[in-house]
Symmetry: C2
Subunit: 744 residues, 2 copies
């Protein structure tokens, strides 16, 4: 572990710039854009999970007073010649020839009022040919299962005939057969996890204003307005320069706001009505028609020697994609055994379509499900060989130089440091009571890089204006300001961060995959460095020496030691004030495709109590330990860890999409979809480990994904140890616990 570096700003905990406005209610969220003459847009959704659309008659709907437009897929550019991926993406926004999930958008209206819009929705006549639905992956994989898509074959599998298996892949290294032969202990078990919701509070919302110029502006809550622009423009066949997207503040996204639903509909309605159109989903629409996390069926087999050496790990991972291909089976496969330095590994993955809404990202997409299964089997093995579960992990832990099954050879990583931190953590040594159990699990996410841009402008009075295009979903304005302050050596208070619209700044990929502090941060650092070069140049002109003779130290331009000049140091403000005389405004910028995000490992531990009478699991304590590389703003790293823990606990204990046999979601709201609230939870203890990422000047690793990966297994292992019985299906809700107890 490298020596800790003494930073001036990095690692401090100032209040985030957007904090006060969010607390006082002044911040503008997705539904807060108001434009004169704005219309209400609403969506007609399919009452069937699977049906062909024979025809749609909008005549009566169009005749409703106050209704200005009714649209169907026919109003959008023809999809015949599109690639399958683009066509399906569009079909998901508004159904083409068939509906493939209950709640699938079929038509949309724009009207002067809510009631007119509702009336029109009620008067659209759709003639459906109802088809049998397939609501879970195992049914969908059967040979005789009804097919969702005639033209879908198995990528990486049998491409000769249509199938509900959209993709199939194997990641492997070594020889698992040989490895299992060498094993003295083997555990194999199948785990089922339900579809779950990201739990963001703010429903999807947008306002579109498409003018007669052919140009449009779109306000929306999103994790990535540049990618909203790209996806929406593609569906509408617009030039990217013709669509400006402005990201509102975001009331939670967690991956659920990395794609689009309403945006093309609102734009089309605005185009046809020549008026701005606002669309806001109801909570029910969010549940029925936007992307949750995949349900999975994962079978894990791990073998080890009696001394704890793992000899083979294999997994068969089945992910539900929802109605269109694209589950995070790939990422789930990458993550599952990545923490372990094991010779023989095989991971087989399946991406399966079912008549449910197409899944979307949810923090560390795919990893919680697969690692829940993997870490559960590891726990069982540790119990079988009588080894401390942390020691068992440590014995097999990956380290610098380990070749991960999914490809890379790790650079410096912090897994062992996390395990050590867990081992010495006070919570690991608290005595347990009756019906209590302690579970531990390891989490992992590889983290994202991707493209980012940033500009930095210096005002006359020495303020620093950082401009970038990554929506702030977890305090990134503060992180960017801290990195700019540190790089430029100027007070944090002088740094202002603006998340500009798509017309005003360079491309930034969507905030997600734990890429933003790393990649956009790098862009901000590089843009700040380019400003320092400019400041040195200007100071040199003011001092009448060469730029090479000037250094930037402690927020001042100073003649370097040995330079024979009678010049006082010049502050940022001194140089800024005189900028007109030395060449004009002082600014810098950078764009990059960031390489080398550092993988982030975690160890979570949970103490639970199980009430054998009611089946209620109470989490007594929860400890999240994670390598952040370097925590730019420790509060918000801890917040990520705590939030991920809470979401993971909910996934483990309560949350699930409950579908009936017709493919209709029975709990489309937060009353019946039970997420943990503060009174359900203990304080989540956190410990940030800092093993710097060698590919970032401050050592940053992404920190937003990993926190949700380990909690499922940590809680599952705790429950299993409390009950002395393995429950292999989530959520471990009271009925499930009672059922398990009664089956004994």
């Amino acid at each position: 572990m490298a020596e800790a570096i003494d930073y001036d700003y990095i690692g401090t905990r100032p209040i985030r710039p957007d904090g006060i406005e969010k607390v006082t209610g002044r911040a503008k969220f997705g539904a807060d854009e108001v434009l004169p003459g704005m219309l209400v847009g609403k969506v007609l959704r399919s009452p069937y999970a699977h049906a062909n659309i024979r025809s749609i008659d909008t005549t009566d709907a169009e005749a409703v007073p106050g209704v200005l437009a009714v649209i169907t897929a026919a109003d959008f550019p023809d999809r015949t010649n599109l690639s399958a991926g683009v066509r399906r993406f569009s079909d998901n926004i508004i159904a083409g020839k068939k509906v493939v999930y209950h709640g699938h958008a079929v038509a949309a209206v724009a009207a002067l009022s809510d009631s007119a819009a509702d009336a029109a929705i009620g008067k659209i006549v759709v003639d459906y040919e109802v088809l049998p639905p397939v609501v879970d992956a195992l049914s969908a994989m059967k040979d005789d299962a009804p097919l969702l898509h005639d033209d879908l074959t198995t990528r990486g599998g049998d491409e000769s005939k249509p199938s509900n298996i959209a993709a199939q892949q194997v990641i492997s290294k070594g020889d698992v057969e040989k490895g299992f032969k060498e094993a003295e202990h083997i555990v194999e078990r199948t785990f089922v996890t339900p579809m779950v919701h990201q739990g963001y509070i703010e429903p999807h919302a947008c306002t579109a204003n498409y003018t007669e110029t052919g140009k449009a502006t779109l306000w929306c809550c999103t994790q990535g307005h540049f990618d909203v622009r790209n996806a929406t423009a593609r569906m509408l066949r617009m030039q990217l320069g013709d669509l400006k997207v402005i990201a509102s503040e975001i009331g939670g996204g967690f991956g659920g706001k990395t794609t689009i639903y309403l945006e093309p509909l609102a734009l089309k309605l605005s185009q046809l009505t020549h008026r701005p159109v606002r669309m806001v989903m109801s909570r029910e629409e969010v549940f029925r028609a936007t992307g949750p996390a995949s349900g999975t069926v994962n079978t894990i087999k791990i073998g080890c020697k009696s001394d704890g050496t793992i000899t083979a790990m294999s997994a068969k991972l089945i992910y539900e994609a929802g109605a269109y291909p694209g589950s995070p089976m790939g990422a789930g496969s990458m993550c599952i055994f990545a923490p372990y330095d094991v010779e023989n590994v095989r991971i087989e993955g399946f991406d399966v379509v079912v008549n449910r809404p197409r899944v979307a990202a949810y923090r560390a997409p795919g990893a919680p499900q697969s690692m829940y299964a993997g870490e559960s089997v590891l726990d069982e093995l540790a119990q079988e060989i009588g080894m401390d579960p942390l020691d068992f992990r440590m014995k097999n832990a990956a380290d610098e130089g380990t070749q991960a099954a999914y490809g890379p050879r790790f650079q410096t990583i912090g897994l062992k440091q996390c395990i050590e931190a867990a081992k010495r953590h006070p919570n690991y040594n608290v005595e347990l009571g009756e019906d209590e159990g302690r579970g531990i699990a390891v989490g992992f996410w590889f983290n994202g890089g991707n493209q980012s841009s940033a500009e930095v402008h210096i005002t006359d009075d020495g303020n620093v204006m950082v401009v970038e295009g990554s929506p702030d979903i977890g305090g990134s304005r503060a992180s960017m300001a801290l990195m700019a302050a540190e790089t430029l050596s100027v007070p944090y208070e002088k740094v202002n961060v603006n998340i500009a619209d798509t017309d005003s700044t360079g491309y930034c990929a969507t905030t997600g995959g734990s890429r933003t502090t790393f990649a956009t941060g790098l862009a901000v650092i590089q843009a700040s460095e380019s400003v320092i070069r400019e400041l040195r140049k200007r100071a040199a002109a003011m001092m009448d020496i060469d730029m090479d003779q000037v250094e930037w130290v402690e927020g001042e331009a100073r003649p370097k030691a040995g330079v024979n000049v009678d010049a006082e140091p010049l502050s940022l403000r001194d140089i800024a004030r005189g900028a007109a005389r030395t060449g004009g405004p002082i600014s810098g910028r950078a764009s990059l495709n960031a390489q080398g995000p550092g993988p982030a490992f975690s160890v979570n531990m949970a103490d639970v109590h199980v009430d054998r009478e009611t089946g209620l699991v109470t989490v007594k304590s929860f400890t999240s330990i994670q390598d952040a590389g370097k925590a730019i703003h420790p509060d918000y790293v801890e917040g990520q860890m705590q939030g991920g823990a809470v979401q993971g606990i909910g996934w483990a204990l309560n949350e699930e999409y409950i579908y009936d046999q017709e493919g209709i979601l029975e709990n489309p709201g937060f009353l019946d979809y039970r997420m943990p609230v503060a009174s359900d939870l203990p304080m989540i203890d956190t410990e940030i480990v800092e093993v710097p990422n060698p590919n970032h000047p401050f050592g940053v690793r992404g920190c937003g994904e990993t926190p949700i990966v380990a909690p499922l297994a940590a809680v599952g292992n705790a429950v299993s140890r409390a009950l002395d019985m393995r429950i292999s299906e989530l959520p471990m809700s009271p009925p499930k616990i009672l059922e398990a107890l009664s089956e004994g």
Copy 2:
């Protein structure tokens, strides 16, 4: 004159990007920003032109239901220790200890409704000590005149005692006494011009949202949102980083929207009420309380030999500043004799405060007044020596190398080309009828440079996103797009120009002084050039050769001749599509303080008919000839020329602020303030002369100011020739004409 260069885009006439939205009513102007919970802000204005404020009691106003705040100067940061300039600037926004013009802001309120705001305004009790007003410059200059400001002394004059003369200056070269001795003909005459309005249709308007973070956003119609930010933040003692200003579309400015009035009031009201506040001036407020163009009294004396050689020119120019110093006397002095290569020149100028609203810029501020006087005397001289007025100008015309009295030695200029164009213009040879006269006059403006910034981003699909901070007041989006298209060799349609807010882009000085196409244009060109370097670098990586081996030609990166590589040319789109693999998003930027704007000369000619019975002057034809250096978008250069001609005709014939002896404006509205409308005017003929500015890659000279300079004298000279009588006071309205005729 340089050979014409064959451009692909420059010089074409595409529709301006903002055109359709302005025609369809979709464009957002200053009063169009709507925010939830927004309050109405209104201003209480002084009923006296000159008075001390003894006290202000806001108690009753605050008690009006629906009133959320009442403010006076006392709510703003203390002004005691400010520099006189900053203090007076603030005093003009909201009066401190005294009011110095009728309509001067004294207090402001924010309320839930218009009527509540009006009621509160009516309940503010101000105790005034009324003082005698001084309403014109000549009265104000008298020794016993009441003083507007106890602490105002004459800069450049007697600084020992207070005076209403704020500044006094002399520009001279040679020896005018000697010059007049050499003269065979001398004409001396005094001219009076009234205060006039810029005639923008859109009243001043803004919406402020000051949040609990101490940060604020301001929407307003302005010619320069960066300078609005700077001025407003200074008055409120805010950090520049804490105030974001967004420029709306502008419904005319012409210099009148280069300063601020409502903005600090709206922000302060918003800060105190914790609500957004919108303020919109009535037309009457615009007339009574915002800055018009200076009234002047200008005495000109010019001597020449019988062959037309001018031997001496002198001027005494008195400009009314309104209530606070700062008339454009300086610019008026610079311009008046600049078109002539004369050895002996003396120009004395006075900046005089009077109890009227402080003047603001109006196209070519100061020049129309002084050059009206100068060009009138020149016309009289030409008549006296029996010389064609164009020949007379040509004989004395400045050219490359001429040393102007105000300082510079001209580089390449186009005055002679304009005179030649006028001489050969068909309109100069039309036969005149009875009571008709033809007047010609020369116009001049030195043009502005100043600071600008621009960014250029390339989208994946090869669109070009230009970002800059100069509000588009005359088609500059189109000009910027044309210059970017030309530089990058990409179709105009692919170029998008965004005028970003102050938080999102680098500093651009206010659009005015005919600087934007030149200076911001240069920044756009340089930013485009930096993108070309980046494109060559990326193409080189794709072709696996060195960047130096790649050239950018006709919108493609090509291996240079002789480079041994098997690579196809790569288009912008080819490179953009692969940008993620070659280093991330493609962008460039530039900031500069532009030097060397080319001076722009014009020749205007007017044919008028004077009805001796009614006094009505009818403009039969008007021809505007001007050197634009290079017209980037000829339509909008012609539009500038036509608009300036119309405004100058109005100034010459009808427009005037009519004040009574108490300093109260008697015609505060467009009904009584008579501006020419289409039916008053002939088609304005234009001819663009193109003598490239050597300091700009495309040869651009500013073109927005010069058009208004010559029309006053052109019309005046035409009327004078039609009547065979010199009228030396504007406007030459029917009563004035009849009076002159009756006086014979």
